[in-house]
Subunit: 466 residues, 2 copies
């Protein structure tokens, strides 16, 4: 296994940050819980909703089919659009942002080397209209991603796009849709078979937020020319590394133990702060994984726990000018996770000039590379000096392999943390109420009782409306 | 004054959400504090760091100069790039996103009607390199924005760009830079005079996060063809509306009172969740305003308070598939601010089809417009049913005038909240430590003692590094 990530937990410890820090005694007190969680997650690998733990091993086989399909798309289409929401959108977006040019869609075709790429994960009419203003649907391949085919947002997008394709292309419309869905169950596989769409399957036991290493994430990545086998290799190597329950050797487990203590001591916020624009959307992906997995009202014993830690997206150095004031002086309620990169894929020199202005001149002759990483270290120092919990994950460089390791690390970290909290990491009962209310408001059959409930809800008081 | 915003505070109240809600008694107990805060903010309008409260009145005069300059840029340049960070970047980005086409830079020139637009607010070398890959600097106008001219990130960008311009254009390089800075003090005004850059001034008493209604925000907006006088009119009308200290008529003050009670009762997180892609970056702008203004360790009496509430960005409906599980089932630690839009600027029909699949068919014949707003109401209902504090601000439509009102509302709301907390809303001492550490690491003159301090900091323990 290539060592490409470094996990530095020093600034979580009381020895570095003082009274808000974690003590060896607190670590010891949670060690058995962490090891029990590790045993559970490891024993259940591949079972139930832990199908995602098989992906680094079993997706190799279909990677060749994905690559072949992707090469066809790269050859024949100008644009590739993902229609999906939540886990179907966040992984593809994060990997695109990390591994392609930061202004990819602005590049001319020959420099881009692949189709333009869009991920549509909302049902804002202005957004759909603006997409249709800038793409030529006749030269676009759409990848509809939903396991059940019952995701209202994705299916609404699909209905709009497929209707448009049929208007323009008649019976060739089906050549512009690839469906990524369940192999046997649900609406989308039924529609795909009926209409003759090419399909890729989301394996059993793989939920949206754990789906990056199946065709949900792999097909868009391959269409972008990303080496998906190397990503899978990274995931596999991280999986192997984390087979041990020795916290000194398993970074995902150590991180879970520390986060568990942090949550127990009132740190209800975790900030993901990459110091690299390429890792910006890793925060969005992490926010879903962490929030939806751990935000649970009941535990396995049926006890009301209202668990969860609220993830926050930040970006270094940008948010030093927005959030760091709060992080250093506000409440002692958060853990800041810094993501750093040793080797950027470009070097930008800061030229000489303005020798008479010391506030400017001290930068001259240096590089942006040195500036961004120096500011990261300076912020880490300032947070630590202010006694604020922080940890740092450093990537040697951002590439397919390190990203595979990083994403899989966070999935394992989330799984261990859910097990330590004794909650169901894999369900999302809290989103059902909103779905049912939507169905009821739309007058969908079977939701008449919910409609009555809505109609009899307390009326709003005009006194509180301005 | 045109009524274009509606503020609905019903779901903050115990009558609607039950035991976590705010009671009339709690409102009464903070009323005097709110009115005192209002009196202070109103009395100090235009004084000290409250110069921003004069902007709706005194920027009218220079708006004509700004528009004239902007029209020249629109005529002569293909691209307009803002070099700035924090308040110099967040306002321009938010207004651009709200009031221009959502895929503006992807549009062909004739449909765009103005130059391509980029805001560079980081010092990531890959980002700078990628910008330079997609713009032609010879056809680009750069707007360097920093009050002091001592902002390392912005000045590094400026050094790189100006050097490149000089290489390409020789002594015509200065025709590609507009400086927005302090009229008298600092490095950038000195450089601007020396090099002959056109300049616009950031008035006294206007800090970065309160600068949208001065040239910082107005010039980029005008270059994009946005009606800046209408924005200022919106701000002015909100200012007038909030002259009263009657909370039933002053939405910014009522919001501050409710948020104050929420903070006092353990709600240390505020979520800004617009249900419109066009308002997505309003969240980023709000996050700086709220975090940097209220995140303070000491109050005016010198008491250690560690005040502040951590702002979180979310987007409806997208984050229903990411964050809402946590919001409905996790800890009772947050207030969710929903931003809704009544009239979108596009209507997208959902066509008929798939009558045999009820999960899909119930959407058919409706519109995306109805879907997004129904989901917003359904989420509001689900949050309320789960007993979670939430409020809703509804915009009749997103336009210059409503946006002017909305941004100014949040500035006043922040000012009142800072005054209620008895803290200095306008400073940011917590970012100094990181700046000093950066200077020291760069070996800047005058920071030798800080360098010694850094060198003598506790060494990291390898035991906590994996």
């Amino acid at each position: 296994m290539k060592k490409v990530l470094t996990f530095d937990f020093n600034n979580m410890m009381s020895g570095m940050i003082g009274k808000d820090g974690i003590t060896q005694q607190q670590i010891d007190s949670q060690l058995a819980n962490a090891q029990k969680a590790h045993a559970k997650v490891t024993a259940e690998a591949g079972q139930g909703w832990q199908g995602w733990m098989d992906l680094p091993y079993n997706q190799d086989k279909i990677a060749d089919d994905i690559i072949a399909c992707a090469n066809g798309v790269r050859e024949k289409f100008d644009t590739f659009v993902v229609l999906g929401i939540g886990g179907s959108a966040l992984g593809p977006s994060a990997v695109f942002n990390a591994l392609r040019h930061l202004r990819y869609n602005d590049l001319p075709k020959e420099k881009r080397g692949g189709p333009k790429f869009y991920v549509e994960d909302n049902v804002d009419p202005e957004r759909m209209a603006s997409l249709l203003d800038v793409i030529d649907v006749e030269k676009t391949m759409f990848n509809v991603i939903t396991k059940s085919g019952a995701t209202s947002e994705t299916m609404a997008q699909f209905l709009i796009i497929y209707d448009l394709l049929k208007q323009k292309l008649g019976d060739k419309a089906n050549q512009h849709i690839i469906a990524t869905t369940d192999q046997n169950k649900g609406n989308l596989i039924k529609i795909a078979k009926q209409e003759g769409f090419p399909t890729f399957y989301i394996p059993d036991g793989v939920g949206g937020r754990f789906s990056e290493f199946c065709p949900v994430g792999l097909l868009p990545a391959a269409v972008l020319g990303i080496d998906i086998k190397l990503m899978l290799q990274g995931a596999k190597d991280m999986d192997q590394m984390c087979r041990t329950d020795d916290i000194a050797k398993n970074p995902a487990l150590f991180a879970s133990l520390l986060m568990h203590v942090a949550m127990e001591t009132g740190h209800n916020i975790s900030v993901m702060m990459p110091y690299a624009d390429s890792l910006r959307l890793i925060s969005d992906w992490y926010c879903q994984l962490w929030a939806e997995s751990l935000g649970k009202s009941v535990d396995y014993d049926g006890k009301l726990v209202y668990a969860g830690q609220t993830p926050v997206k930040a970006l270094g150095v940008t948010d030093q000018h927005s959030q760091v004031q709060l992080y250093t002086e506000g409440p002692f309620d958060k853990v800041i996770i810094l993501l750093a990169v040793n080797n950027f894929r470009a070097t930008v020199d800061i030229p000489h000039g303005f020798a008479d202005i010391p506030d400017v001149n001290f930068l001259c002759g240096s590089t942006m590379n040195k500036l961004i990483n120096t500011e990261m270290e300076a912020t880490e120092y300032a947070l630590t000096k202010a006694g604020r919990l922080n940890m740092r994950i450093t990537l040697d460089s951002v590439d397919e392999y390190s990203l595979g390791q990083l994403l899989y690390f966070f999935m394992l970290h989330t799984a261990y943390s859910g097990a330590m909290l004794n909650i169901n990491t894999y369900n999302q009962p809290g989103v059902e109420e909103g779905k049912k209310a939507t169905y009821a408001m739309f007058g969908k059959q079977g939701y008449e009782a919910k409609k009555q409930e809505l109609d009899s809800a307390p009326k709003k008081d005009q006194k509180y409306i301005i």
